[in-house]
């Protein structure tokens, strides 16, 4: 099933040989692997050069994609990246406390996000800005988390997009439970069935919650697509620190299918996600998708990747940029001209300007907000604590 090169089993090393300041052999190998094609089983429909390659298994899942749809996917990715870069810049200018960049993962997220239907449910981690976009959540609504005004303001029930989950892997079990509920309510079994998709990273696959999520979804036949974005790095740790074998192969041990898709190919991500969701709708879930991609920026704005990875690696991945290949494809096949590309860029710039303006004008939250919604039922004890504190503050003057 797997080629030997996909396996890693680093030899234990001892003593001074393992202590050099330069990257260890293991880290070099990890870096080299990250720049490879992701193995022979990688599903790819659009090459990094923008060539459409046939895939007898998955072509049918994007057979309905029109030129207009393809332009739409391109536009999604350009706008998502622009919002990401603008938010990153806002952090650098002190407008946000921290930002979590998605740079490089636009295709994985837009492909998955556009495969979802409004009736499907999504459980994100904290880097799913592209999926949020596809669920109709404006980039402005993400800012509060990172500016420190709130924990996310979108209506997670209306959008069917759960709040961002920061503790690594927690949301995977929550997603399993939600998907079990879809099944218990008889919403699974035909073309109109519901499904759930949950997002997590390569690092999260080591967490007990993720393994338990695999078990629970499997034994309850939950309509759940596990969408793992393997962006090669869990802060400073390469994927080899989490697993000896390609992550998608883990699914087999839990009794459901696993597949690896080129996470920088929006068309393949869309096709594979549609297939996986379709399986779930019909009651054949769960399914694990490993989207093989790359975190082109830091883990967060507080991280410094130069301490643990080589810049060559980033340069190699730039050649596989998720947006560039679609642009080339569109232009080469006459689906887009320069005017169109310019108009998308203009839309992106306008959106970024609005995002920026919005951020500058975000008010600080009122003090009483932290006492709100702690409990669903009235809490006289907490109300008293709040009132006492607000009375204390009012002695200093001002509105709280």
């Amino acid at each position: 099933m797997s080629s030997a090169e996909q396996w890693t089993h680093p030899e234990p090393r001892e003593g001074p040989a393992a202590t050099a300041a330069a990257p260890t052999a293991e880290q070099v190998i990890a870096g080299l692997r990250a720049t490879s094609e992701g193995g022979p089983e990688l599903v790819q429909l659009l090459t990094p050069e923008g060539e459409r390659v046939e895939n007898p298994e998955f072509d049918r899942y994007v057979a309905d994609i029109t030129d207009e749809d393809l332009r739409g996917l391109y536009r999604d990715m350009v706008l998502v990246r622009r919002a990401d870069r603008e938010s990153n810049a806002l952090q650098r200018q002190g407008q946000l406390g921290i930002w979590v960049p998605l740079l490089g993962q636009e295709a994985a997220q837009v492909g998955a996000g556009r495969a979802l239907r409004p009736t499907d449910m999504v459980f994100p981690s904290y880097r799913e800005h592209g999926v949020a976009w596809c669920r109709g959540i404006k980039p402005e609504e993400l800012l509060g988390i990172f500016r420190g005004t709130d924990n996310g303001t979108w209506d997670s029930v209306a959008h069917r997009f759960h709040p961002y989950t920061i503790v690594i892997g927690n949301q995977v079990l929550n997603a399993a439970g939600y998907a079990m509920g879809q099944r218990f309510e008889g919403k699974v079994g035909d073309d109109d069935g519901e499904a759930t998709m949950c997002f997590f990273g390569d690092g999260a696959t080591s967490q007990g919650d993720v393994h338990e999520g695999f078990v629970w979804a499997a034994v309850y036949d939950a309509p759940l697509v596990f969408f793992c974005q393997n962006n090669q790095w869990a802060i400073s740790e390469p994927t080899e620190r989490q697993s000896r074998l390609p992550l998608y192969q883990r699914a087999r041990g839990y009794g459901f299918p696993g597949i690896r898709v080129d996470g920088n190919d929006v068309l393949a991500s869309l096709a594979v996600s549609r297939w996986a969701l379709d399986e779930c709708r019909h009651g054949n879930g769960p399914v694990l998708i490993e989207a093989f991609t790359y975190r082109m920026d830091a883990h967060t704005t507080t991280d410094d990747p130069t301490r643990y990875r080589l810049s060559d690696e980033l340069e190699a991945w730039k050649l596989k940029d998720p947006i560039e290949r679609v642009r080339v494809h569109l232009v080469r096949h006459g689906m887009a001209d320069q005017d169109y590309l310019d108009s998308v860029q203009a839309d992106a710039d306008k959106m970024a300007a609005e995002l920026r303006e919005y951020c500058f004008n975000m008010p600080d939250p009122p003090v009483r907000q932290m006492f709100d919604n702690v409990y669903a039922e009235p809490s006289p004890v907490l109300d008293a604590q709040r009132d006492e504190f607000l009375a204390y503050l009012s002695a200093f003057g001002g509105e709280h």
Partner: protein, 341 residues
Amino acid sequence: MAAPAINKPQTAPAVQSLTMGKALNLGLRAAMEADPKVLVMGEDVGKLGGVFRITDGLQKDFGEHRVLDTPLAESGIIGAAVGLAVRGFRPVCEIQFDGFVFPGFDQIVSQVAKLHTRTQGRVKVPMVIRIPFGGGIGAVEHHSESPESYFAHTAGLKVVACSNAVDAYWMIQQAIRCDDPVLFFEPKRYYHSAAMKAEIDPAATPDPLFASRVVRTGTTATLVAYGPSVKVAMDAATAAEEDGHSLEVIDLRTLSPLDLGPVFESVRKTGRMVVVSESPSESSIGSELAARVQQECFYSLEAPVLRVHGFDVPYPPAKLEEHFLPDLDRVLDAVDRSLAW
């Protein structure tokens, strides 16, 4: 596994002025030099040196067998450390942020805390779990919490919190030498504070680990704090001096076991006590202090014990944390209320 060779690491050669973060780094380094069974393990602690750089350079100098970049699993870090401890190692686990300890909570309360009892004392679990804790860094959810009370509540665990660079240097070494498991809380917002730099003399004799300490003497009222709140209490005491109030400040240092002798002695002198802590107040270290002080110092108290804590709400978004965290004004307000009783 053969004993790994050690590159000649540099210890603190002489008295140095260090930040708390650097003091912890050198303390860990000294402990690793002193005992080849000491291991450091956690997420990103190797090449990166930890997200706060507390383990900076340790993997380079001691090798990958002694400084482990672990898979992303806190239950795994702690559970595996238990096994390593049973095997004779002294693991020092780093939990990246306070709010991420909970996947390991089961291992801590079910195994770390109980193994010694379960084996009638035959098996020791000499491990340290380092947890950067507390707020004030403008972070997102789960990065600013004060979960110490959960652990102080659990029999079989020892819980300490350092408040300054000198203690950080010594306490981490003492915790590693301790044969019981120690939860080691570090006030992350002071890690790199230049203002908190202190002279550290590696030749000095440190205070015992499980001892609280009077850090400022006074007569009007007693402030009891630990970790990041010690600085708040000290600043409050300085400010109170201008109003003619002489506040005594006690740094608890050890949260379990509590060392309350100095607290009782102080309260018998001042008759008033205010506890300062970032954790929510309900069933907290502050609750325990209030109970014990009223029991032991009942006839000395001129006012009820007051607590200035975080509120009983989830830690709020960063823009509200200045209101959540005890500050100088809230401490002084409590002192005033105590004095007005």
